[in-house]
C-alpha cells in the first residue's frame, strides 16, 4: 500500500524507540489508538475501496502489534531490521553447554509421565525455563543495544529453543490439569 505511514518500521508506527525493551503500556495504548482510526468498523458506511484499504491498514497494525508484543518475535524482528533473517538465526551455531542443558530439560519433560507427582516437577521445570529465558533476553538486549548483532543472534536462537520447550511444557501442564478436572 502506498500509505506513507506504512513505510515506517513497526517501532516507528508505534512511536517507540527501536530497542528490545518495550513499554508495554505505551504499546497497548498506541495499538488501540491506531485501530481506533484504521479499523474497518470505522469505514462501514464508506466506499468499497476505503473499506478494503482499512482492512489492509488494520491488518498491518495487528501484525506489528503481535510482533512487538512477544519478546521472541520482537527479537527476530529487530535482527531482521539489521539484515539478519530468520533463516540466518536458525543457522547460528549453539555451544555444547547449552545443547547439553537443553537435552537434560527435554529428558526431564519426556520422563514426566512416569513420576508420582508430575505437577510439582513440571512447575519447577517451567520456572527454570522461564528464568533461563529471562537471562537470555537480557543478553539479547545488551548485545543488540551495543550493536553486537551476531552475539544478539546467538542469544536469539537459544531463546527460540527455550521458547519451544516452554510451550511444550505448558501444553503438558494443560493436559495434566485437564485430566484432573
Amino acid at each position: 500500500m502506498s500509505s506513507p505511514d506504512f513505510k515506517q518500521n513497526y517501532f516507528e508506527l508505534f512511536d517507540l524507540p527501536v530497542a528490545f525493551s518495550v513499554d508495554t503500556a505505551a504499546l497497548g495504548a498506541r495499538y488501540r489508538q491506531l485501530q481506533g482510526e484504521m479499523h474497518p468498523d470505522r469505514y462501514a458506511g464508506k466506499s468499497d475501496l476505503e473499506q478494503r484499504l482499512a482492512v489492509q491498514y488494520s491488518s498491518r497494525v495487528n501484525e506489528a502489534y503481535n510482533t512487538l508484543r512477544h519478546p521472541l518475535s520482537r527479537a527476530l524482528y529487530l535482527l531482521e531490521l539489521v539484515g539478519i533473517s530468520g533463516e540466518d538465526v536458525s543457522r547460528q551455531q549453539v555451544d555444547g553447554g547449552f545443547l547439553m542443558m537443553q537435552m537434560e530439560l527435554r529428558e526431564k519433560l519426556e520422563s514426566l509421565g512416569e513420576l508420582v507427582d508430575p505437577d510439582t516437577v513440571l512447575e519447577h521445570l517451567i520456572t527454570e525455563i522461564g528464568d533461563d529465558l529471562r537471562v537470555l533476553r537480557g543478553t539479547f538486549a545488551t548485545a543488540y543495544g551495543a550493536g553486537e548483532h551476531s552475539a544478539a543472534a546467538a542469544a536469539c536462537v537459544k531463546m527460540q529453543y527455550l521458547d519451544k520447550l516452554l510451550r511444550e511444557a505448558e501444553q503438558l501442564e494443560a493436559e495434566l490439569s485437564e485430566k484432573r478436572a
Binding site: 502506498s2 506513507p4 505511514d5 503500556a25 495504548a29 488501540r32 468498523d41 464508506k46 468499497d48 482492512v55
Partner: protein
C-alpha cells in the same frame, strides 16, 4: 473524512439523519431483532408483543411458515418442520448425519453441503435461515417505519469460515445489508460493558440452544479486545433436553417412538427442564407423548446428574480459553448469555469456576441482540463520537494442506482480525502453469481431522523452469472473520487468478441465482428496480466525489488528475439522465476506479491528521496493561 457519503440522489448528506439499523440474533432455538431507539437498545416485538421468534420453519403447507405456528405443527409434520437449522449451517453431509438422525430429517444424498428433503422440495439450511431472517426484517421495517440501512448479524464465536459465510448468504437472501457479522459473546459484552461502564477483563459464558461459546475480553476505554475465544459448535441446551428425554423414555420402559412422538417427547422434556429451574421436582405426563404413557416424576437432583457431564464439558472449554488468553490477572466480570444459563446448576458451576457471581441483569435471551443493535447503530454512523471499537479474533486456526496430508498453519487461532498473511510457493515442474491449494480450518495436524474450507486453483502462472516461479499467495481474514485469497507471480508480476470452490456452502454464483429467483417471485418490475438501484449508486458516487473534490481536490490532486476525474464525472452525469442501465453501471465503475488513488490519499491524510492531533498521553494516562 468520507469520500463517498451515502445520501439520497441530488441531496447533500445530512449529518444528523438517523439511519435505521438493527442487530439480529439468529439463534438455534429462537431469533430476535433489536434496534437503538431513543438512545437505548431494545428488542423489537411482533404484533402479539412477543420478542422471541422460534427459529422454526415449516414447509408442511406449500409456502414456508416461520415461528410459533411452525413450531405448533412440529409433532404432526416432523420431516417438514425444520428446527435448530443453525446446527446445519455451512456443514457437510458427514458432519450433519448424526444431527439429522436425532432431528428426524431426511437429508438429500448429494455431494457437498446439506439439503433437507421436505414436501416443498429440497431446502438448504441457508434458505431456511433466510425465511427466519425475512420475518425479522419485515418486523423491523414496520416497527422502525422504513427500509433498513443495514444489519449486524450475530454468529457463535466458534463458527468457522463456512458457517459464517452461510449466515451471511442467508442474510443476503433475506434482503438485508450485512454491516458486520458479530460474535455473540462480543455482542453480549457490549450490551453489558456500555451499560455498566466497566473496565477490566470480562468472561462471556454463552450456552444457547445448540452452541456453547466462551470468550475472554478486555475492555479499556471503549475498546473491547477479544483475548481468546473457544467453545463447542454442537453443544447446547438442546442436549440437556435430549438427555432428559432419553431418561424419561427409559423410565417409561423404552417404547419405540414414531418421529412425531419423539418430537413431542423432546418438547415435553424441554418444558420439564425449564420448570426445574424454579421447582425442586416436577411430574411429567407422558400420555401427552404416546398413548398409555405413564406420569414420571423427576427431581432437580436427578436432572442435574443427567446434565453434569455436559456442564463439565463447557468448563473444560473455559479452562482452555483462559489459558489462551494469557491473563496475568483474574476475570473481573462474568456475563451469562443464552437461555440455558437459567439452569441453576449452570449458574452455580460457572460462578464457582470463575470465583465471581455471574451477571444476569440483562435477559440472557435478549442480551446478544441488544449488543448487536448497539454495534449496528455505530456502524451506520448514528454515533459519530462513539468511542466503542470491537477488536475480535479468528476462532480456529487456518492452514493449508502440505505433503502427506499434513496441515501447515497460516493464521493461528485467537489472532486478532483483520489479518493478512502471505506465503510463497514455487512450481515443481518445468512449464507448470497451475497450482492447487487446499485450505482447512482447525487445530489438528492431519488434514482429515480439520474442516475443509475450500480448494483454490491458481491458474495463469507464466511457464518457467521448475522452481523459478515465485507465487505469493495472500490470505486475508476480514473483520467478519471471512477469508479472501489472492495470488501474484512475483518475478513477472502476473496475477494468478484464484478459483474458489467452497467445500460446503454456496458459491457466489449460486447465491446470485437464488437471489434472482427470489426476486422473480416478487411481482415488482425487475428491470425498473435494477435501473433505480444502478442510478442510486451513480448518484452516490457523484455526490461523494463532488464533496471530496471541494475539500481536498486542490491539495491532493494535480491539475491533470483533477481534470481527468471531472471529465469522468460529467460523462456519468449525462448518462444518469438516460435509461441506459449498462452504460451507467460501466461509467460508475470506471469513475470509481479512476478515483481510487484520490480516495486512498484522502484516507491517509485523515488518518495522519487524526493520529498527530491527539497526543498519546492525553489518550491514556499511564493506564497499566
Amino acid at each position: 473524512m468520507a469520500l463517498m457519503q451515502i445520501a439520497e440522489p441530488g441531496q447533500s448528506p445530512l449529518p444528523h439523519t438517523v439511519r435505521r439499523a438493527v442487530g439480529i440474533d439468529l439463534g438455534t432455538t429462537n431469533s430476535l431483532v433489536a434496534a437503538v431507539r431513543g438512545g437505548r437498545s431494545q428488542v423489537l416485538v411482533d404484533e402479539s408483543g412477543a420478542a422471541m421468534l422460534p427459529s422454526v420453519v415449516s414447509y408442511a403447507g406449500g409456502s414456508p411458515q416461520v415461528g410459533a405456528a411452525a413450531l405448533a405443527g412440529a409433532a404432526d409434520h416432523p420431516a417438514d418442520t425444520l428446527v435448530s437449522v443453525k446446527r446445519f449451517m455451512g456443514r457437510g453431509q458427514k458432519d450433519a448425519l448424526a444431527d439429522a438422525a436425532r432431528s428426524h430429517y431426511q437429508l438429500a444424498a448429494e455431494e457437498g453441503f446439506v439439503r433437507f428433503v421436505t414436501r416443498a422440495g429440497k431446502v438448504s439450511p441457508v434458505e431456511a435461515s433466510a425465511e427466519i431472517l425475512k420475518v425479522l426484517h419485515r418486523r423491523a421495517v414496520s416497527t422502525l417505519g422504513g427500509d433498513l440501512d443495514g444489519a449486524v448479524i450475530t454468529v457463535p464465536a466458534y463458527f468457522d469460515d463456512a458457517q459464517r459465510q452461510a449466515t451471511k448468504d442467508a442474510a443476503k437472501l433475506a434482503g438485508l445489508k450485512v454491516l458486520r457479522l458479530l460474535n455473540e459473546p462480543t455482542a453480549a459484552a457490549v450490551a453489558y460493558g456500555l451499560d455498566a461502564g466497566e473496565e477490566g477483563v470480562i468472561a462471556v459464558y454463552d450456552l444457547g440452544g445448540g452452541t456453547f461459546d466462551i470468550s475472554i475480553l478486555r475492555l479499556h476505554r471503549g475498546v473491547f479486545e477479544v483475548l481468546a475465544t473457544g467453545g463447542d459448535t454442537v453443544l447446547g441446551g438442546d442436549d440437556f433436553d435430549a438427555a432428559l428425554a432419553a431418561w424419561l423414555r427409559q423410565q417409561a420402559g423404552d417404547p419405540a417412538l414414531s418421529a412425531g412422538e419423539a418430537r413431542a417427547l423432546q418438547s415435553v422434556a424441554r418444558a420439564a427442564k425449564e420448570q426445574l429451574s424454579a421447582d425442586e421436582r416436577v411430574s411429567v405426563d407422558l400420555s401427552r407423548v404416546f398413548a398409555g404413557g405413564p406420569a414420571v416424576e423427576i427431581s432437580r437432583d436427578t436432572f442435574e446428574g443427567l446434565i453434569q457431564p455436559l456442564v463439565k464439558q463447557t468448563l473444560r472449554a473455559c479452562r482452555r480459553c483462559l489459558r489462551d488468553a494469557e491473563l496475568e490477572q483474574d476475570v473481573d466480570n462474568v456475563v451469562m448469555v443464552g437461555g440455558s444459563t437459567r439452569v441453576p446448576l449452570v449458574r452455580a458451576a460457572v460462578g464457582d469456576f470463575f470465583a465471581r457471581e455471574p451477571l444476569v441483569d440483562i435477559d440472557p435471551d435478549q442480551v446478544v441482540a441488544v449488543g448487536a443493535a448497539i454495534q449496528a447503530d455505530i456502524l451506520v454512523g448514528n454515533q459519530p463520537d462513539g468511542e466503542l471499537l470491537l477488536l475480535d479474533v479468528i476462532p480456529l486456526s487456518l492452514g493449508i494442506e502440505t505433503m502427506g496430508g499434513l496441515v501447515e498453519k497460516i493464521v493461528p487461532r485467537n489472532t486478532t482480525i483483520p489479518v493478512t498473511r502471505a506465503q510463497e510457493f514455487t512450481t515443481y515442474k518445468d512449464g507448470q502453469t497451475a497450482l492447487a491449494v487446499h485450505i482447512v480450518q482447525g487445530e489438528r495436524e492431519l488434514v482429515d481431522d480439520c474442516r475443509s474450507l475450500a480448494r483454490f486453483e491458481l491458474r495463469g502462472i507464466p511457464p518457467m523452469v521448475a522452481g523459478a516461479a515465485r507465487i505469493l499467495v495472500t490470505y486475508q481474514v476480514d473483520a467478519d472473520g471471512l477469508l479472501n485469497v489472492s495470488a501474484t507471480e512475483e518475478t513477472t508480476g502476473a496475477e494468478a487468478s484464484v478459483t474458489v470452490k467452497p467445500s460446503f456452502g454456496l458459491s457466489d454464483d449460486e447465491v446470485a441465482t437464488m437471489l434472482t429467483e427470489s426476486f422473480s417471485h416478487a411481482s415488482e418490475d425487475m428491470s425498473a428496480r435494477q435501473l433505480a438501484e444502478t442510478r442510486l449508486s451513480g448518484w452516490q458516487l457523484l455526490d461523494g466525489m463532488r464533496a471530496a473534490l471541494e475539500a481536498d481536490g486542490d491539495a491532493l490532486l494535480t491539475a491533470e488528475e483533477r481534470a481527468e476525474l471531472e471529465t469522468g464525472m460529467t460523462r456519468l452525469q449525462e448518462l444518469l439522465n438516460t435509461e441506459d442501465r449498462e452504460a451507467i453501471k460501466a461509467q460508475t465503475e470506471t469513475l470509481g476506479r479512476q478515483s481510487e488513488a484520490f480516495a486512498a490519499r484522502r484516507m491517509d491524510k485523515s488518518i495522519r491528521q487524526a493520529l498527530t492531533g491527539v497526543s498519546l498521553e492525553s489518550l491514556d494516562e499511564g493506564a497499566p496493561q
